[in-house]
């Protein structure tokens, strides 16, 4: 079986959106795909040594709220200070109870499976991020670096 290639662009830095790139990349690696994820803009948060990913109900009418809160809670209520950390801890608990892996675990599995993790150099410069805040396994590159790989890929995803 010749090796297939998967290229993913990861652009979001919230707890919920951290899942698709790492789930797909780790699974693809298990299926024998050679896999690369290019992290740009807020996606760079997923490469930090210390992950502190949050999920926000603000501006997200699709998020299921516990105890029917979405029925009686006014939309503006999702902007109350502390709501984000409440929702984040509820989400984390739910994931743990349902046997969903943590982002740390999925990321470690990706690294173990030799998924290439490329951080966007431009984003790092733009937001004055420090290289030492990121895990050591990443490489840095730009759009051309992504296309060098994606041009040969069988599947390319923008997340």
């Amino acid at each position: 079986m010749s090796e297939k290639k998967l290229a993913i662009i990861s652009t979001k830095g919230t707890l919920d959106w951290a899942y698709p790139p790492f789930i797909l990349a780790s699974t693809a690696a298990a299926l024998g795909y050679e896999t690369t994820i290019f992290f740009t803009f807020y996606g760079l948060q997923l490469l930090k040594k210390n992950l502190n990913l949050q999920v926000s109900p603000l501006g997200n009418p699709g998020m299921p709220m516990p105890m029917g809160m979405d029925k009686w809670f006014p939309v503006i209520g999702t902007a109350i200070p502390g709501m984000q950390s409440i929702m984040t801890s509820m989400m984390r608990k739910k994931m743990k109870d349902k046997g969903v892996a943590s982002i740390e675990e999925l990321r470690a599995l990706c690294i173990e499976a030799e998924v290439r993790l490329i951080g966007c150099q431009m984003t790092i410069d733009l937001f004055d991020m420090k290289k030492e805040d990121f895990i050591n396994e990443i490489e840095l590159g730009g759009a051309a670096t992504f296309f060098e790989y994606a041009g040969e890929a069988d599947v390319s995803l923008f997340i």
Partner: protein, 76 residues
């Protein structure tokens, strides 16, 4: 299906962990050996079929036992 060489308990784990753990377990056994996997993730039924098809490891059987799913995979 009763004979197997190694067993993997993936009960309580959700997608994609059963597949990832199975892949890891397959790496540790020789070609032709059989891995038995226990899972409680309903999605794993379709996923193990797809995994077998794409990796060439043969899915010898897939069964629902009470609230669990039991798979036998033969390493290619």
């Amino acid at each position: 299906m009763a004979d197997f060489d190694q067993e993997l308990d993936a009960r309580g784990l959700n997608c994609p962990l059963p597949i990832l753990r199975a892949k890891k377990a397959l790496n540790s056994i020789d070609s032709g050996k059989i891995l038995k996997i226990l899972s409680t993730d309903p999605g794993s039924v379709k996923d193990f079929e797809a995994f077998a098809k794409q990796t060439g490891n043969e899915l010898l059987s897939s069964a629902t036992v009470a609230d669990e799913f039991h798979f036998f995979l033969k390493k290619s």
